[in-house]
Amino acid sequence: MNLTLRIWRQSGPADKGRMVTYQVEDVSPDMSFLEMLDVLNERLILAGEEPVAFDHDCREGICGMCGLMINGNAHGPQRGTTACQLHMRQFKDGDTIDIEPWRARAFPVIKDLVVNRNAFDKIIAAGGYITAPTGSAPEAHSVPVAKANADAAFESAACIGCGACVAACPNGSGMLFTAAKVTQLGLLPQGQPERYTRVIGMLDAHDEAGFGGCTNAGECTAVCPKGIPLSTIGRLNRDYLAATTTKRPDSPTA
């Protein structure tokens, strides 16, 4: 099939950027979306033009490095699918496709479709862990975890940190990402000691990084390639509320 691509080109953070139109011919429906961009880039290079910069690595939907706004949808039209796993059979001959980077205050553009998502790492560094220095762990079976909790923790742990939730959110909020980690660790017995300091630390880092607040628009969960549920944000809010009241659930009893 033949397609018209309108791609965001921006040479660097200082450049204003613009949409540029390209034609690509003979696209196979079995190609992935990124392979289609590879074909375009090969052609641009041979014509002496700079190829389109875009982030990608594993190309199997798990590393979270790719992220494109495709026709205004984070990761494109197929639900539960990263851009690298999107295949061209989802499009038809003659389509025009708009391709843009994630747009959010906390994710500045580096070049073309590549953005800086370092703010996510900062949120994790501010509490998205369980403190368990190497060597200090007890026998794995000393603490059983109810299967339902383990499964629910896994569901939240499936987040790949791609940032689609932020790109889709009208407020540029990173709440779904933050809530996924808060939920995973908060559901496990190992995560209880730091449960309330964690949520405060992570939310402070979230706000400091320039992410917006959550207004329950629900766009985040709709585009999440791993289907992280909106209910995680409810859980985060409950924990945050509990953590900021004077008598926290984990306060030592007098």
Binding site: I45, C58, E60, I110, A137, P144
Partner: protein
């Protein structure tokens, strides 16, 4: 000109002796320690943030060392360990099915076709149990039984259920555990994290590894970074084949640059071809996707009995199907080790019984398991894998059997290290897939995660102290002649790549190199093929340096320039792989020489002549490398012909 020169043997001077059960304990006791106050004065560079690098950086920082960590991705959480699906082995024996440290040790040595070191493998089996404890404490959400205890499953090459898993995303969950421990140390100021940075050279001063030259991939800035020791955890080199299950950015540059500076490269020809990957669909293909080996627990592998049978799989009656793994290997069936399953798939396809549009595929069929366990149970176990398969192929594996074919997946070879995981350059340590040490000629499923975390959490943080006890070493900076030279080499090379200004893209060269390697240094190798490959690689390398076209400059983000540097190193590695494969006149594990097979087509080892590690020393590009042999001794597991029948 000779392809190589034979040099002196190489010995593992750190290898302990005595009873194998107490060697690791004794080595730890005999090794020197660094007191906590002195640790603060020392810096360790760690390149790579996968399971090995991430866990090592976090652990070293917890111990009190200052750590500088580097990765080429935009975040340490993206390292390719994240894509590992199936699970992680550990000798917990929670199933009461006869497992033990000794059995995991035995299975791994045998699975590696008797080409690994007994001492290293035993240590790996010992610390495997600590890894599970560590990961559970970090909040890794492993699969659990209803009673709240951990679930396990079977993997290839074992008859016990010792594989712990988190659905089909075990690597992701283990990596996030290590990443979170690392981020905690970054937050505490103990680790300086440098994402989107690529190591392009090793700095060696007075024979010791003292730093690296890195390029900031965003600004293009090149800097020299110094430390008291350097740890490479930069992964494997499967992308030399262009098409592999590795991430697109996986490369050999860090280890190859170290090799050029004097670190021996061991067993480069040992590559693992994974039997269950989604087949190639066309020329546009940029990577291959693995379908976890765990699927072989419930999926049955078959092809039609008749050649050229084009009927839809469901129209082929049971008695006209050949469940060839169950037929040839009745005791292990569909769970034979990877090398054996891959070659069997190749053989049935070569015999004209392959399936799918390209005829390079076999069926992996879940119909029986769905009948037996119900669709829900299969969904719970493999749901995400089935979805991934459907997204890529457009076919629903609940209705139609999967089509699979072998693909390059892992490399057992890597930089040579001693028992302390130190390379032949003092102060340069190599961990995870980047080293060669534990898997011999074939890695068992669910053992890569085990080794990466064993090295990073438990082995290296103990052994590196023995080296650092002599530190802190003399301060050096960018004005040191060795640093100036290393940096100039990096700058010159980037300018040379840009200056070619030819008429072919980097990818076109990489694809062509990959075809040569897959054809002649893939699942089956022969003398004639390897000699041809060496000539072709050399010619293509020449052409690369005359015709490659890179647009843009080195002063900012330039993804073509990054790729070009990596492909240039793959050319040199590819030649060494072929020479290693050519010199090893036997078949073992993933290295199958057509000239050396048993009458029924199994690998024919030659223990009298080849029970050694081939450690290669670099001389100069295009000049013969020097082969150093490390003899392998087997005191506990007697080498036999591997039989999974």
């Amino acid at each position: 000109m000779d392809l190589y020169i034979e040099g002196d043997p190489v010995a593992d001077t750190r290898a302990p002796d005595g009873p194998i059960e107490s060697r690791w304990e004794r080595r730890r006791f005999e090794a020197k320690l660094v007191n906590p106050a002195n640790r603060r004065k020392m810096t360790v560079i760690v390149v790579g943030t996968g399971l090995a690098g991430g866990s090592a950086a976090a652990t070293l920082a917890e111990q009190g060392y200052r750590v500088k960590s580097y990765c080429y991705q935009d975040s340490p959480r993206r390292a390719h360990s994240i894509a590992a699906q199936g699970g992680i082995n550990a000798a917990k024996n929670y199933r009461n099915d006869g497992d033990s440290v000794h059995r995991l040790f035995y299975d791994t040595v045998k699975g590696g076709d008797f080409r690994s070191r007994e001492s290293n493998v035993h240590r790996l089996a010992e610390v495997s149990v600590n890894i599970i404890d560590q990961c559970v404490a970090q909040g890794v959400p492993f699969a659990r039984e209803y009673g709240g205890l951990l679930d396990t499953r079977s993997f290839g090459g074992a008859q016990v259920q010792r594989t712990f898993y988190a659905r089909g995303q075990t690597g992701q969950q283990l990596l996030l555990g290590a990443y979170q421990a690392l981020e905690r140390q970054i937050g505490l100021g103990n680790v300086e994290m440098n994402a989107r940075h690529e190591m392009l050279e090793l700095i060696v001063v007075d024979g010791k590894a003292r730093g690296i030259v890195v390029r900031d991939l965003v600004t293009g800035e090149i800097t020299s970074e110094f430390a008291d020791a350097v740890v490479l955890a930069s992964g494997g080199y499967g992308n030399v084949f262009y098409l592999s299950t590795n991430a697109k950015g996986c490369n050999v540059t860090a280890t190859w640059r170290a090799h050029r500076k004097g670190a021996y490269f061991a067993n480069p020809c040992y590559t693992q071809i994974h039997p269950t990957c989604i087949p190639v669909s066309g020329d546009h293909q940029s990577k291959l996707t693995l379908m976890s080996e765990s699927l072989r627990n419930d999926g049955r592998v078959w092809v039609p009995k008749a050649k050229g049978d084009d009927r839809a799989p469901r129209d082929i009656p049971e008695d006209e199907r050949d469940y060839y793994l169950e037929r040839i290997y009745p005791s292990f069936g569909n769970l034979v080790p990877r090398d054996i399953a891959s070659r069997a798939a190749k053989n049935v396809c070569d015999s004209g019984r392959g399936v799918g549009p390209t005829k390079l595929g076999v069926y992996l069929d879940f119909a029986d398991a769905i009948d037996r366990l119900g669709r829900k149970a299969i969904e719970a176990k493999y749901g995400n894998l089935f979805e991934m398969y459907e997204r890529i192929t457009g076919e629903d594996p609940y209705e139609v059997p999967m089509r699979i074919y072998p693909a390059v997946h892992y490399t057992m070879g890597g930089l040579w290290v001693d028992y302390d995981l130190q390379s032949t350059i003092p102060g340069l340590f190599v961990i995870g897939e980047a080293n060669f040490s534990d898997h011999g000629a074939n890695r068992l499923g669910a053992s890569a995660l085990m080794q990466g975390l064993a090295d990073g959490y438990f082995v290296l943080p103990n052994t590196i102290a023995n080296y650092l006890a002599a530190g802190p070493f003399e301060k050096i900076d960018g004005s040191h002649p060795a640093a100036i030279e290393a940096r100039r080499n990096v700058e010159d090379r980037l300018q040379r790549l840009l200056a070619v200004n030819g008429d072919r893209t980097v990818d076109s060269f990489h694809r062509e190199l990959g075809q040569i390697m897959w054809e002649h240094c893939g699942m089956e190798r022969s003398e004639a093929g390897l000699r041809k490959a060496i000539d072709e690689i050399r010619a293509l390398r020449e052409e690369f340096w005359q015709r490659v076209r890179i647009v843009g400059d080195a002063d900012g983000l330039n993804q073509s320039l990054e790729k070009a540097g990596r492909v240039a190193d793959f050319f040199e590695l590819a030649e060494l792989m072929c020479i290693d494969a050519l010199h090893r006149e036997e078949s073992c594990g993933g290295h199958f020489r057509a000239e050396h097979q048993t009458p029924d087509g199994e690998a024919q080892r030659d223990d009298d002549n080849f029970a050694y590690v081939a450690a290669w020393e670099f001389t100069a590009t295009g000049e013969p490398s020097v082969l150093h042999k490390e003899d392998l001794k087997f005191e506990y597991v007697h080498p036999t012909q591997r039989s999974y029948k």
